[in-house]
């Protein structure tokens, strides 16, 4: 993933967000993340699966097998209640931090907005 130092820990949040919309399997998540971010977030499989397996062990997601788009069996991941709560917390934290960063980077814009 490009610029990974800029947003440490955000990959989890992005994956949880994808799973909030629908159940997905690993390859599908990489594709979806790349498409939505205009290829900014190009996640490697070697990065994705350890994160997914960690999330599964933490109970934030759960997996099940089902037929994929081409009819082949794929391991789908599903967001759990614990995962929804974790996503909520992470999103709020992200909003707080990004607002703070914007206040530092673009003070003039914010003043205009407030005015």
């Amino acid at each position: 993933m490009q610029q990974k130092n800029l947003v440490p820990g955000s990959t989890q949040m992005l994956l949880l967000r994808l799973l909030q919309e629908s159940d997905m399997y690993g390859y599908q998540m990489i594709e979806e993340l790349g498409n939505r971010s205009n290829d900014t977030f190009l996640l490697k499989a070697g990065t994705l699966y350890p994160i997914l397996h960690t999330l599964e062990q933490e109970g934030k997601i759960e997996s099940y097998e089902a037929a994929g788009t081409a009819g082949k069996p794929r391991k789908y991941y599903h967001l759990t209640q614990v995962g929804r709560q974790a996503l909520d917390v992470q999103q709020k934290e992200w909003d707080r931090v990004s607002t703070a960063i914007n206040r530092v980077l673009h003070p003039a814009q914010l003043q205009r907005g407030n005015g």
Partner: protein, 451 residues
Amino acid sequence: MLPAQLEQWLDRAVAQLRCRAAVQPVKAELKAHLEDQYEAFLAEEDSPEQAARKTVESMGDAVLVGGRLDEVHRPRSAWGPFLWVAMLFVLGTALRVFGELRLGPDGSGEVVSLLVRGCVPVAVLAVVYFGTDLVARMRHTWLIYGGALALVLGTALCTPTINGARIYARPLCGFLVLGYAAVLYRQRGKRLAGLLLSGVAIVPLLLAALYLPALSQAICILLTGLVLCLYCGWRDWFGWGRGRSMGLTAAVAVGLPAIGCLSNPHLVERMLERGNPFSDPAGGGWLDLLRLTIWQGKSPLQPLTSEWADRVPENLFQGLTEESLFRLLGSDDPLTWSAHALGRPAALVLLGALIVCLVLLWRSVLRVRSAAGRMLALAAVAFLTAQLLLEPLNLSVPFLSGGVWSGSVQAVLAGVILSAFRLDPAKGGQEPAAARGWLHRDGKGWQIRLS
């Protein structure tokens, strides 16, 4: 059906998983991913070769990917290997207690003390083996490397110096090779730069050992580093070609000591002196002479009649009783003491058993599938073997020799080796008996396996 290149990637990645219960599900998931990615590249009108190459690139390094998955799927510890090593410590304690009991009822106080001291390394082994898993922490390379170095130097500075030697820090040199293994683990695919960094990384470790000063430990570290680098070259770990990596390693290994010896004759002199028991009869040399005398079949409790008699200082064995002999040799040199107390055949049986144990250990280590585990275990086993080979007269026995301090350090090393054999015997269903490190039966009969 995946192309061979992708199958190879898959096999290498799942080989890093020590938790056997996780292997099949992870393999199936990664295989599905490889298929999807490969087909996507084919659909973009890439040739099959191009598609396979790009798929492998998109997946990342197989060993590192597998290593990260191994961190997530940490296996639980098996009891079998732990009990085997704990038994060795118990055997060492039993030998010492037996020697103490031979000295008569006055030694009974020592027996209790010896039993307590014998328990400490077993407790350390249990804590390291069940409580930590260094193999799963190999990504924190510089923390492991720097931590080991800081531990040795910190102990050297904080403990008393005896006869100019920082003896409490000496046994800790075994940790330095673990740090070195962690550095090598991160040099995968870095070609010449990785190989050169591996060469440079050993220098601070050697300087630390020489600072103690512990010349024999420094040589052990050097030999261990050489074994690790040659092994990495042979497996083409650096991705620079097997021949080139091994050739450069061998050239440096031969060239640097040669330059060192030619430029500093004192170094050669010092090493020869270290190997000669007659050279330092007032210091450590006399103990070597004592060992040598016993192994030549001449008890130090009787007058010497050998060809060396005229070379031995007159008062060397004066006042030496069986009790003082046990005190001298019982804790550090159980083999030499056994040769004296039980006869050379018994000591040779012990020595033979030790060599068999080491050979089996080497065999098991080289069969470890996880690259991180194999690297760490290889470093620890090579270091123990170098110690044994370097001091043939000392006959220090790993896990049997030494006091509570060096025994505890050996227990940490043993715990690290065992962590490479960690397998999950219960998670996800029934495991094969071989995975538990116990006796198991196959078509060829009963066998003992660690992995």
